[in-house]
Amino acid sequence: MSEAGCGNCHAIPGIPGAAGTIGPDLTTIGTQASTRRPNMDAATYIRESIVDPNSFIAPECPGGACPPGVMLQTFAQTLNPTELDTIVGYLAVLGTPDAIPLALSAVSAPLDISRTAETLTIPAVPTDGEQPDDAQIALGRYLFFDERLSGNNSLSCSSCHQPDRSFTDGRQLSLGFPSTAYFRNTPTLLNAARSDRLYRDGRMDGDDLPTLVRDHIAEAHFMSADGRLMVERINQVPRYVDLFVEVYGGEPSYGRVLNSIAAYVRELNSGESPYDLYLAGDKGAMSEDAIAGLELFEGAAGCSSCHSGPMLSDDSFANTGVGTDPAMLDDSERAATFRRFMRTLGMPNYRNLDTDVGLYALTFDDADWGSFRVPGLREVDSTDPYMHDGSLATLAEVVSFYNDGGGSGQTAGLPALGLNATEQEQLVAFLQALGSDLPEVEAPQLPPYGINALGAG
């Protein structure tokens, strides 16, 4: 219906942008249609109204009595039978208990942005009298930037999740621990707390950020730190010890380190994007191109069949045929890291594996081969490069990729879209409207080591 332009004249629940005021409001048409013409059921009436609008003029329009002869009379030609059936089916139940809860409707529903842009502002170093939560977040912020959390003091969380790059590293593939070379693209940390699953292959629970942090600190390919050694480093920083006492009422521990960083990461969220403002009624918030892109996104391009909901992800997994650049495994360090990873997950024949199998390595379900988590798209304007392997450098490349029906071997059912260049640009314009103003985050000055008394508790 977006494509057909119904919303230009009608208000139609569930259809993005369908807030027209020329024709009748269709919010409850499903309950009214059967009353309009004698011996004509709702569906028949609606079908007649679309293909032959002047056979009956509805009594009431937002502007008063409905004007006859205004509605286009070309829908019988422009809509194919299937499309017509779909539209009729949708309208015939509007306002009835059978109304179809389309995925699309979630996109157009008001976004649940519980945090505003201001929440990304990093709290100042706590002083006496501040709230414990703030102190925990502030402590987590220190730790987030502290390279002493890695095995050889070379990496902090912020090394790969760089605040000035929307918490990515801007690289095709993450560097990982020195001499390891990771094999996937670093995703943004923004909105991590709102993800159902975490990591490209979804191997972590989005509700369990502390474990996500732990995985990063401990894994050989990330920060490769012995947990106890890391905690003793924290114990050697008097300011940290004070902060742990303040926040937790006790000394630093591994769990408290994780909880602190998780508390900080929970604060890393998108603010309101132009798209949000547009949805909230500010029609000038997005450019015309972006608005056209939105229509394509939810319509002809079908992006919203996966990228739906407030985070523009349905939290599903898909093999879109991105595949794996074979050159990735040309690097011996990366190959070793990749094979160790697959080996620790128990992948059969991992030594001969030449592609990143994604979710399959976790489920061993053939349907999951090469599937990766559908990422949310907020801040997608600044989190390049894209895809699990970082193989697409720009949003234009991403749109082009999908326009071609994805990559070879895709199992996501992606059709070739047949979008022309303008339409692709419009989609890009919409995607660029998904970024919000992210306040600058400055790396804190880290407290230094001190000297402890040996054997003094």
């Binding site: 095995g151 050889n152 070379s154 621990f177 011996s332 360090e333 001190g450 000297i451």
Partner: protein, 409 residues
């Protein structure tokens, strides 16, 4: 027990005869110098008591090193030695690719880096003095507390430990599999289609076992060449086996009883002033399974206690062998002494540092005169040191992608 017979390869009857002769001379050389125990040396020590202690203690005769002991499942072959040598020098066997075994065990520093306390990966410290690898084949347990009973298992800790190599085992294997030359060598030597961690440990241990110093002047002396030791060193030997009682613990071919003793070595102040040392100090208490009470209260390295969890072992450390001791400064488990003179002086004073439990009763004033101290040092520094065992870094095989360790990628 090791004796002189095992030391000599038996290639001919003549050689066998020489070996038997050497064995006789060993006996002679060792037991005659004990004589000073029987004479009043003016030290004020009761000779009768000293004699009884010498008899009670007993010790294994000093001797030339015998054949290299090898585990039944890890015989020495030239191919394995060469593979182990490559691995010993290969920094890819550390987590961040920055360190090899050779980093802490450099051959030009007596196979033990010259710092009092060894280092770990960047941002970490070790907490003890690094031991030499030379003659390690003859040890019966490994590291200062003897927590490892095989060289192979010791090496696993060195590659994988957080304040050592910090290498994940599976990652190590996958890296080895990316080095075609290694894959070929492992296949030839161990018959596997891919390098395995345990085999890599076997190879490195095999290389280490070949690092043997059997050419020190004292060996020639034991073999019958009375001129091999100068007058000072010879006098030092007499004191070593006699009045000074060194041989009570430093006996046998290795000059170590492979036992554990608390000496009350002074604390190394680095643990009071260095954040990294303090971090590792506490980390080790935890990592070695000490009780929370010990973790929170000890200001001492408790040594053997971490292995046995027995109070009587607190403060005890493994007796190191003394061959090539002149190359392995600084000395003691915490590297507190930088010269052999300081070591001998410490024993001569016989005054343990504060706070050390279970100090060995042998730690008492020895009453050595300065000339005698010098003589013992001469025996250690000249008599027990020959041409150093050396090796140079081999050319390492590249990764499959053609890069070498540390190379810009």
């Amino acid at each position: 027990m090791t004796d002189g017979n095992k030391a000599a390869p038996h290639r001919s009857v003549l050689y066998l005869f020489a070996a038997v002769l050497a064995a006789v001379l060993v006996t002679f050389a060792v037991f005659v110098p004990v004589a000073p125990f029987f004479f009043d040396d003016g030290s004020g020590v009761d000779d009768t008591t000293a004699q009884m202690e010498a008899q009670d203690l007993g010790f294994t005769p000093l001797a030339q090193l015998g054949a290299i002991p090898t585990p039944i499942d890890n015989p020495i072959t030239p191919e394995k030695v060469e593979l182990g040598r490559l691995l010993f020098f290969d920094p890819r066997m550390s987590g961040d690719g920055s360190m090899s075994c050779n980093s802490c065990h450099p051959s030009d520093q007596g196979w033990s880096v010259d710092t009092a306390i060894s280092f770990g990966p960047p941002g970490t410290s070790h907490w003890r003095n690094v031991g030499s690898v030379v003659n390690i084949a003859y040890a019966t347990s490994y590291n200062w507390e003897g927590s490892k009973k095989s060289l192979e298992s010791q090496n696993s800790g060195a590659w994988g430990g957080a304040v050592a190599g910090n290498l994940d085992k599976a990652l190590g294997e996958e890296r080895l599999a990316e080095i075609p030359d290694y894959v070929e060598r492992f296949a030839d030597i161990f018959g596997t289609d891919t390098p395995l961690w345990d085999d890599a440990l076997r190879a490195v241990a095999t290389y280490q076992r070949t690092l043997v110093s059997r050419n020190v002047p004292f060996d020639s002396y034991l073999a019958g060449d009375q001129t091999a030791l100068g007058d000072q060193a010879a006098a030092g030997l007499s004191l070593f086996t006699g009045k000074a009682g060194c041989v009570s613990c430093h006996d046998g071919a290795l000059l170590s009883d492979n036992g554990f003793h608390a000496l009350g070595v002074p604390q190394n102040d680095e643990f009071l002033t260095s954040p990294l040392r303090q971090i590792t100090f506490r980390y080790e208490q935890w990592a070695k399974g000490a009780t929370e009470d010990v973790y929170r209260t000890t200001d001492q390295d408790l040594g053997r206690y971490y292995v046995t969890h027995n109070q009587v072992d607190k403060g005890k450390f493994r007796t190191p062998g003394l061959r090539d001791v002149c190359y392995t400064k600084p000395y003691m488990h915490n590297g507190i002494f930088s010269t052999l003179d300081q070591v001998v002086e410490f024993y001569n004073n016989g005054i343990p540092g504060d706070g050390v439990e279970n100090v060995d009763p042998l730690m008492r004033p020895l009453g050595l005169t300065q000339p005698e101290v010098d003589q013992i040092v001469a025996f250690l520094a000249e008599g027990l040191c020959g041409d150093p065992v050396t090796d140079t870094a081999p050319e390492l095989p590249p990764y499959r992608d053609g890069t070498l360790p540390g190379e810009e990628r």
